[in-house]
């Protein structure tokens, strides 16, 4: 990124598009972890010890039989490997790309303990799943139709996993999504360099090829359809609504021009036909400490912003973004400042110009209090990445019980309503991970299937 000389376009003050040349955009948004070549895959697969009761499997929210799929790669049975993965996680392809493996399977890998170089499980998983998807090999056949009909609302990872599992069992599924394209955050969230070449849509197509899933895109719960009606019209309902709202800054002038929700701009980047058309500031400030903060900061930097600073209210270990992700942002050229909260946005002519932060420190109880010191960062753009919230209005008056602002579920992901299940980010204690959402969908599908089989 620093290899290109400073041009007028690159250094343009304020917010501007086209800061880079075409090659730089292409390079900056190329595949973060390219697909293993066969030789790389074999060498890496050979590193797996085929552990007993493997810690990596225990660390995987979907419980993929990792030693088995790696052994299958090592023995040249790549399709068998993909099937092993899909047996546990039909979105194994996207999870291979976006899972924070460094805090899940690869953290648990005994090679991590042995030599601090875990087997690169995520990349091996992508090697196997990409092969099956590229060759369009389908491993599952639908059972005979059961005559039961399930509504799945929200076609993100949880909804797709649930719909696929139910369709396999022979149930008819109607899959709704408020957006035009399916995939949820796989399509509209996630940094573009993690899922290149329209993979999210390819994966959706691969999953839907099971058959028996009717699509209703652009249909929103609470607007076009209503939960009460779905309860009447379907034998069961699965809600995977995600979190539609972005948290706001509780400070003055937070609605000035140039102050944006990070998730909106991340979606814009994913959907942009031409990255050079996306305007970014020369100086950009990102507020937050999760994956969204990293994804927006890294991508804005890659779009040509000169100075990008993430400001997080606590220390590095407290950030929800993993250490790997923090380093990724930092090596992209993003600066991360800790222990500060926004105090005031300063504008000029209706647009943000700078932002003032107070340094904070935790008191005895852990609560953050200003130290009395502050600093100011120039900012042509400010991105808010301080969390999202569940928009409960979509549920209408059906009487779904909530807990801490999200849908309350039991271990089977069943809500308080007899025929309504829920999963993904919209449920309480959601891990906000693609892989956890897939597991929710799987578990709910199993429970729904049992419910329907018992005459429900």
């Amino acid at each position: 990124m620093s290899s290109t000389p400073v041009t007028a376009a690159k250094a343009a003050s304020g917010v501007a598009s086209g800061r880079l040349d075409a090659d730089a955009y292409a390079e900056n948004f190329s595949d973060l972890h390219p697909l293993f070549e066969p030789h790389e895959a074999l060498v890496e697969a050979d590193r797996c010890y085929f552990c007993y009761d493997a810690p990596c499997v225990q660390a995987c929210p979907t419980g993929i039989d990792i030693p088995m799929f790696i052994r299958q790669i090592a023995t040249g049975n790549t399709l068998g490997s993909a099937e092993t993965i899909f047996d546990a996680n039909i979105l194994g392809g996207m999870c291979a790309r976006v899972c924070p493996t460094e805090t899940l399977c690869e953290q648990a890998c005994v090679r991590h303990e042995a030599e601090e170089k875990p087997v690169r499980i995520g990349r091996l998983q992508r090697y196997a799943t990409d092969h099956a998807i590229r060759e369009d090999v389908q491993f599952y056949e639908r059972k005979d139709p059961t005559g039961k009909h399930v509504a799945v609302v929200g076609a993100g990872p949880a909804g797709l996993a649930c719909a696929h599992a139910l369709a396999r069992e022979g149930h008819a599924v109607t899959l709704y999504d408020a957006k035009k394209k399916l995939g949820g955050l796989n399509e509209y969230g996630i940094a573009a360099y993690k899922t290149v070449d329209d993979f999210a849509q390819k994966e959706v197509d691969y999953i839907l090829a099971i058959g028996g899933i009717e699509l209703k895109a652009g249909v929103a719960l609470g607007r076009d359809i209503h939960l009460a009606t779905l309860q009447d019209d379907f034998d069961a309902v699965f809600l995977s609504l995600g979190m539609g709202g972005a948290n706001d800054l509780d400070i003055k002038d937070a609605d000035l021009g140039g102050v944006h929700d990070a998730i909106d701009f991340i979606a814009d980047i994913r959907q942009a036909p031409d990255l050079s058309a996306l305007p970014v500031g020369r100086s950009v400030v990102v507020i937050g400490g999760g994956m969204t903060a990293i994804d927006i900061a890294s991508q804005v930097k890659r779009l040509g912003a000169e100075d990008v600073t993430i400001v997080y209210r606590r220390g590095a270990p407290d950030m929800k973004a993993s250490e790997f992700e923090q380093h990724l942002a930092q090596t992209t050229g993003v600066r991360i400042k800790h222990w500060a909260i926004p105090k005031e946005i300063i504008g000029e002519g209706g647009r943000v110009r700078s932002i003032v932060f107070d340094y904070v420190a935790p008191d005895a109880g852990g609560a953050l209090t200003p130290t009395g010191e502050s600093f100011t960062l120039a900012a042509d753009q400010v991105f808010k990445a301080i969390g999202q919230n569940f928009l409960e209005d979509a549920l209408g008056s059906a009487g779904v019980a909530l807990k801490r602002g999200r849908i309350a579920v039991d271990a089977d992901r069943r809500t308080n309503l007899e025929t309504v299940w829920a999963g993904g980010d919209c449920i309480e204690d959601g891990l906000d991970l693609t892989v956890a959402a897939v597991e929710d969908g799987k578990i709910a599908a199993r429970a729904i299937n049992a419910h329907l089989a018992s005459g429900g």
């Binding site: 007993y52 493997a54 810690p55 303990e113 042995a114």
Partner: protein
């Protein structure tokens, strides 16, 4: 600094590492490269009678690999030299003249007729070569013509040809043995009886290294057909070492010079062969896998180890392990070992547990107080060494001799005196006084 200079049958070389008779020693160019790299000597690729043999033009070699594609087993269907006898003789003469301090042994294979041997021996002698090695080992191709292992498998022939050679040349005679035989001691005894000066072993083992499942043909194949080839490389080392040891501890051949061959890849492999009685060693597959430069590691590693052990010359440890090789019946049945797992080194892969659980004695835990932990259960451990064998971390699991207390598995004291099978109550042929 240990002295690596070697003398085998009076043939001197700067180190005990010779290149075995094989493709690396087929021609002047290769042998000179080897000598420049530092090899102590060569056994020139086997000469035969003119007209020279021909090789297939399809693949000659096949291999098996470990998971990381390291070559661990190798096979070939190459025949003896496919160049005219005179060409080889001239090159041998020139190389020996240019490299007088290196051992030059010439491998020979001619029909099992005295006239054939009588004819070729003076030609070889004229080159100034230091000795000859009789190729009674190659199991492929030439054996179909009554040579190679077809001779080595019949001790009477071994003795007969060795005798002819001793009668018709003043050069030292080494007989290279085939492992494709039930009891290696018989051809070794025959070689000695025939007057040979030494044996070298092993030659390659009959093998099919793989099957091409698309063509349904063995690997390597030529035009869709394949044949068995000679197997060598690291995988054959244990077989070779046993055969070397069998000859070294056989009363009939004890002390008879042995040149050790079979999968030697590192200095440690060489030291092991020599500890089992080999006066020197021959290497082929390792050179064909990595090139001649490995001689630097072989000599340096052996030298450093000798320094560490206080050996100043190789003869001080050649054969040192032979007295400790015995028959099963003399092993001490009262020696009790138990596995011990070093918890600091353990990476918790759990392989020791699952192999013990599934295939042995259920003697290793997988969970202790609800935590993933692998510990040996002494009441079940028979000391079999399986866990040590499968553990990926070196020295993490060790077998420890138990000396104090009582074995919870048997209730017997650990410190019982030596006793072997010969006096064991379960032995129908037991004797009262233990034989050792």
């Amino acid at each position: 600094m240990a002295d690596l200079r070697s003398e085998f049958l009076g043939v001197k070389s700067p180190n005990p590492f010779w290149l075995a008779s094989a493709p690396p020693t087929d021609r002047e160019t290769n042998v000179v490269r080897a000598f420049k790299a530092g090899w102590g000597g060569v056994v020139w690729k086997t000469l035969g009678e003119d007209p020279h043999v021909v090789n297939v033009n399809g693949p000659r070699y096949g291999a098996i690999h470990s998971g990381d594609r390291r070559l661990i087993g190798f096979n070939n269907i190459e025949l003896i030299t496919d160049r005219p006898l005179e060409t080889n003789l001239q090159e041998i003469k020139k190389v020996k003249r240019d490299w007088p301090d290196r051992a030059m042994i010439v491998s020979l294979m001619v029909p099992c007729e005295e006239e054939s041997w009588k004819r070729i021996l003076p030609l070889v002698e004229d080159t100034g070569a230091d000795g000859i090695e009789l190729n009674f080992g190659c199991p492929h191709g030439m054996s179909e013509r009554g040579m190679g292992s077809a001779v080595g498998q019949v001790p009477d022939y071994v003795e007969m040809v060795a005798r002819w050679c001793k009668a018709h040349t003043r050069m030292p005679v080494i007989v290279k043995l085939t492992p494709n035989i039930t009891d290696i001691r018989h051809p070794a005894r025959a070689a000695k009886k025939g007057g040979a000066d030494a044996v070298s072993l092993i030659n390659t083992i009959n093998s099919i290294v793989g099957v091409d499942l698309d063509r349904m043909a063995p690997e390597p194949h030529t035009d869709g057909k394949g044949t068995h080839g000679g197997y060598c490389g690291p995988a054959v080392k244990p077989i070779a070492m046993n055969m070397v040891a069998e000859i070294a501890r056989d009363p009939d051949t004890h002390g008879f010079p042995i040149s050790g061959i079979g999968g030697i890849t590192t200095w440690r492999d060489a030291a092991e062969f020599m500890a089992l009685g080999a006066g020197n060693v021959q290497v082929c597959t390792a050179a064909m896998t990595y090139g001649f430069k490995i001689i630097e590691e072989l000599t340096d590693g052996l030298s450093k180890w000798m320094d560490e052990k206080g050996y100043s010359s190789t003869d001080q440890f050649v054969g040192s392990a032979v007295p400790n090789i015995t028959d099963w019946q003399y092993l001490n049945l009262n020696y009790i070992a138990k596995a011990r797992i070093d918890q600091d080194l353990c990476i918790k892969c759990g392989r020791c547990h699952i192999v013990c659980e599934d295939t042995s004695h259920q003697a290793i835990t997988n969970m202790v107080d609800g935590v993933r932990r692998f510990e040996v259960i002494d009441a079940e451990c028979v000391g079999c060494n399986l866990c040590v064998s499968v553990c990926p971390v070196e020295n993490c699991i060790t077998m420890e001799h138990q000396t104090d207390g009582v074995d919870p598995r048997t209730g017997e004291r650990y410190d019982k005196p030596y006793a072997n099978w010969t006096t064991h109550p379960n032995n129908p042929n037991r004797v009262t006084e233990a034989a050792e």
